[in-house]
Amino acid sequence: MLNNDAALETEALTIRFGGLVAVRDFSVRIPRGSIVGLIGPNGAGKTTCFNMVTGFYKPTEGRILFNGQDITGWLPHKVCSAGIARTFQNIRLFHTASVIQNVMVGARIRQSTTWWHALLNLPSYWKEEREVREKALYLLDAVGLKQFADEESGGLPYGAQRRLELARALATDPSFLLLDEPAAGMNPNETQELMGFVKDIRNRFNLTILLIEHDMRVVMGICEHIWVLDYGVTIAEGRPEEIRSNQKVIEAYLGEEYVRDA
């Protein structure tokens, strides 16, 4: 199923923390426009992989290619400006800011005017600030939070905070989106909604999406390809139905319960 047009490619990514090898030889090739998943038990190194791709950790070995460009070791803001956005496992909103301000901060990176434009009262500054606000409202509308635009973000319910984080990530105009456990803490209804929503934003914003998820319904439901990590090693990869029947994966992660349900 993998065609040649890869949005993101990693080549044998390895990272060591002291003597511990957190991730070993992590190699993926993610086709443009796909939704793919990264799964594995707790502590398998999934978020570490995210942190390497987004520049928060520098891999000890290996390369990361984004649209064919080597972005290994780039700083996070550079990676973001190249077009990779992410959300966090533990929601990280700017909690003192209003909902719309959160999204506007995401849009900041695509702004050409800066602080001294604000002081000089330039028309271009006001025009761009207005555009940023409109863009933020548009994205809030897309995630169904427009009516909360001026509320304080910390006061939103959990599911809404997750969607706000997504809107904020989208505001950076990414072509590649990393979602760290987007369904965590959601009830089955919300999870169902989320699946449709992720597919929807992929189509609407021409994204490639890599997600970490523990909820197997989400992973099996929307991912076209899955990588499985265990103790930092990729133990399996393939289409959802292949992963479902892979003996190693079942042993390492899915457990007997899932086998029985399936």
Partner: protein, 348 residues
Amino acid sequence: MDPKLKRNYTLNGVAVLLLVGGLFWAKGNLDGYKIQIMNLIAVYIILALSLNLIYGFTGLFSLGHAGFMAIGAYTCSLLILPATYKQTMFLLQAPMWPFSVMHAPFFVAVVMAGLVAAFFGFLIGLPVLRLGGDYLGIATLGFAEIIRVLANNMPRVTNGALGLKGIPSYSNLWWNYGWCLLTLFVIIRLVRSNFGNALKAIRDDEVAARAMGINTFRYRLISFTIGAFFAGVGGALLASLLTTIDPRMFIFTLTFNVLMIVVTGGLGSITGTVLAGIVITVLLEWLRFVENPISFAGMTVPGIPGMRMVVFSLALLFIILFRHQGIMGRREFSWDWIFNFLRRKGEA
């Protein structure tokens, strides 16, 4: 234009006119002591606003304000002191060129004071802004001490421990409140722009801000440098207001006074800073009575020098214990807020 915006602009204009009227009235009707307090209020507001930008809005715990003020004060003073006067005042050693001859009008001198302080802020910011939290506090405190020690030990530039005397007192209500309004304008514009949103985002969650493409180091450096600029301006105005400066003036207590205003007003509240700037500057003067002998009901309590600061430290302690977010928290007084408040009152 949005009618609400138009109304706010009009009200801002009216407020400035009222301030100008008030200053005219004060000049004609108040004695020198009260005018001096009004001048100090404006200077302290400038200083506190600049620290609030650094600490309140960007979350950089900086204790280097006295250092930037010293740089601003010395720069401005050396620029406005007449060359001939400098030659006679420098008793220890003759002043070094170009400090011996440089001269500029007051406005230029104040701008230069800000720029030199900003330059030092930029230089010191390059290495120390990579530090976070308490480490940054220690490093900036160290910087301020270095500046003070240098001022003490560079007699050819600063006249050493003797300090500079007879600085022309150009600083008056107009200059001080003009600069105060300019500082207000700049800081309000900054924190209300999307640039300001990014500064606050760095304060709230640095990791998330970096993931959203914010070059946090650059933003911090800009905020710190702008803050240093206005600290330098404040120092310059203060020097011309007091007409005499020496290194002892720029000890940590000065930073502490400014920090006290920021914390009392509320970290991240501009109107809180203005309010606290007025209240604390007035109290700093008014509380001098506790340092004088007090007669009460036939008993006389002897005056204790420094008692004022004890009272202030206690007050700060109580603020932190019972209202640690300050008078205003992160909220602001705004015309919208006042109108909404009045409307609710009207409906009730």
